[in-house]
Amino acid sequence: MPTKVIMPKLGESVVEGTVTAWMKKENEVIEEFESLLEVTTDKVTTEVPSPAAGTILKIVAPEGETVEAGTVLAWIGEPGDEIPEGEQPPAQDHEPHETPDAESITDEPVMVRPAGRDRDLGYISPVVARLARDKNVDLDKVRGTGMDSRITKKDVLAYLKDHKGEAEIPIWETPADGDLFRPTELVFGKQKPETQPSPASSAIPGETLPLSPMRKRIAEHMVLSKHTSPHVTTVMEADLSRVMAHRAAGKAEAEARGIHLTYTAYFLAAVTAGLKAVPLANSSWTDTGIRLHRQINLGMAVAMPDGGLIVPVIRGAEELSLIGLARQVNELAERARTGKLSPDEVQGGTFTLTNHGTKGSLFATPVINQPQSGILGTGMIQKRVVVIDDAIAIRPMVYLSYTFDHRILDGASADSFLAAVVDALQNWPPA
C-alpha cells in the first residue's frame, strides 16, 4: 500500500503552500526523512521530508502549484503498487503517448532530432562554448572535424561563415551563463507567465524579473493595505540622549550575557509604553467593532539579504524587560536572515516597528501591516542642533513616523500615542 505525501500545515493559520521544487523525480528511490520537496508559504520556505522509504510512484502536484494543506502531493511505495482509486488526479488533457514499435523507429530517417537532443557532442572546449553562446550557434548543427569528431573552434567559425545573415537571436533572449545549450523550458520551467505584460512595458527593451513568492505576497499585501485603511502619517522627533547614555552604560554587560543591545530594543520598549498609554493604538478594525488587543505583539521588519523583507513578531511585549526584548530581537533577526523562522513566528502581530533609517532616511510614510492599526517608522539617528531652554544644544535626534488607520484613530488620539513613545524615549529609563 503506497504512502501519501501531503501538503503539511506549516503553522497555526497557514492554510496553503506552494510547491517550489522537487528534490526527487518520479521512479527515483528515496529514504524515509530524506528531503523530498521544498514548500513555500507566504513568507517561509521549508523542506518536506519523505514520510516513508520507497520509490516515488507519482508526483501529483507539479512545481509552481499552490495547494491547500492536506492535499496529496505525491505517492511513495514499491514499483507496481496500485495508487488507490479516487486519489488519482483528474486525467491530464494531453494525449496519451503511443509506444512506437521498433520497426517504425528504424524505418524513419533521422531527420529531426528529438527535443531531448541526445546527440553526444563530445568534448566542448572553452572557446567553442564561448563562441556558441556569443554567436548563438546551435552546436547540434555544426559538423565536428576534430579528434573523435569533436567540434573545433574552426568548425564553429566555418559554420558561422556559411550561415552568415541567419536571424540571430537577440542576446537578451538567450539563457544566462551556466545554462548553455539547454532548451529554455528546461531552464525556466514550463509555466506560462501568469500575467501578460502590458503593451507599454513590452515595447520598451528590458528584462522581466521573475516574482518570488515573497515578492508576490509583499505586493499583494501592500495593495490590500492601501485599499483597506485610510493611511495618515504623523511625525515627531525624539531626543535620544538618555537612551544613548543608558545603552552605553549597559551595552558591555548585556554583551557579556550574549545579548546585543540594539536601539531597536529601546524603540520596542517605548512603543510598548505608548500602546499601554493609548490602548486604541493596539487594535484592529472589524465590521462589528474596533477590537482592542489585550496582548502587545510587536512585529519588527527585517530586510532579507537577497531582497524583500519579513516581519517576525515578539509576543507579549508588555511583559518583557528591555533585555528580554533585546534578546528576542537578536534571535528573531538572526532566524529571519537565515530563513529559519517558523510560520507562527511571523503572524499575530498587533503593531509593527520598521527602521528605515539604516541608509540615511529621516522620515517615511510606512504602510500598515494588516489587520493592525498602526506602524511606527524610525529614521536615522543624527546629531542635530536643538533649542533647549533658549540655549542651543547638540543632541542625538530621531524622527518617528507613525502611520495609523484613520478609521480607528484620529489625529488627537494618534498624537497622544506618539507623544507617549517620545516621552518614554526622552525620559529613559522608565520610573
Binding site: 572546449s125 572553452p126 572557446v127 564561448r130 576534430g146 569533436r150
Partner: protein, 328 residues
Amino acid sequence: MAEITLVEAIRQAMDEELAHDPNAFIIGEDVGVRGGVFRSTVGLFDKYGEDRVIDSPLAELTIVGVGIGAALYGKRPICEIQFADFIFPAFNQIVSEAAKMTYRSNGEWTVPMVVRAPYGGGIGGGLYHSQSVEAFFAHVPGLKVVIPSNPYDAKGLLKAAVRDPNPVIFLEPKKGYRLIKGEVPEDEEIIVPIGPAKVSREGTDLSVFAYGMMHHYALEAAEMVAKEGLDVEVVDLRTLYPVDRETILQSIRKTSKALIVHEDNLTGGYGAEIAATIAEWGFMDLDAPVRRLAGPDVPGVPFSHPMQDWFMVNPDKIAEAIRELAAF
C-alpha cells in the same frame, strides 16, 4: 648587412658597452688572455686592458661576489660563468644578495650587474656542461632573466642588460653560438628592451612558445609543417622574468592552442608558468589542452650520443607535437 654568429653578436655587444661606459668591465674564467672558452671576449683584453677584462680564479662565488661589490660601488660588471652548470656556487650571492639589495635598502642601493652564462645541451657536454638553469632564476623577484635566440636580439638585449639598473641573468644557448647566424646592422646602435616577447612567425592554427635554442628549432619545425598545410605562430619569449603575458595571451586569443617548448626537464620547468598564465587568463579562448614539450625528467643530459638525442628536444619532435595538437 653582415651576417654574424650568435657569439660574435655577444662579443660585439660587450665591446660596444666597454667603449660606451668606462665603468663597464668583464670578469670571469679565461675571459682575458684566452678570450673566453667560447671566444666571446676575443680581442677585448688587448683593447681594454687587464683592469677591465679580468681573469678570475676558478671560483664562481667570487666572480659574482666581486660583481656585486663593484656594482654597489657604481661599476657595471659583466660576470661570465663559463658554463651555466657552474653557477650554483654563486647561487647564494645572486639570489640572497644581488636580487634583494634594492628591495632591502628601500631603493637606495642597486646592483647593475649582468651574469652571463652559456646553457643547454646537444654539444656532447654530458651532465656537467649541458644544464638549463633558467627555472631556478625565473622564480626570483629582483632578478631579470633574459635568453636571446638570434644574433640581433643577443646584441640588443645584452647591451640593454648592461645598462639596466637591476641584476640580469643573461643565458646564452651555447649550441647556437656558431650554429645560429643572422643579420645585424653595423652602423647603428641596437638596444632591444628587456621585457617584450616577439611574435617571430605569424600563424593561425596554433601558437608555439619557446626561447633560446628551442625557439630556433620551433621556427624550423614550423617551416616543416607549413608544407603540410599547418599555419603555426611562433612566439620568442626572450625575457623570462618579467614575462610578457599580454603577447602570450594575444596569441592565444588568435590561435586558441598552445604548445610550450623548452629544453630543460618538464616538471617545475619554466613552461609550467606559461601554461598557468594561459590557463588562468586565457581559459575561455582555449580550443585544446595546453601542451608542453620539454626534456624528460632525468637528472641530467646524458653524455652518450644516442642518449643525448633521446633527451634533447629537436625540430622533428616539435613538428610531431605540432601535428598532434593541430589534429585535436
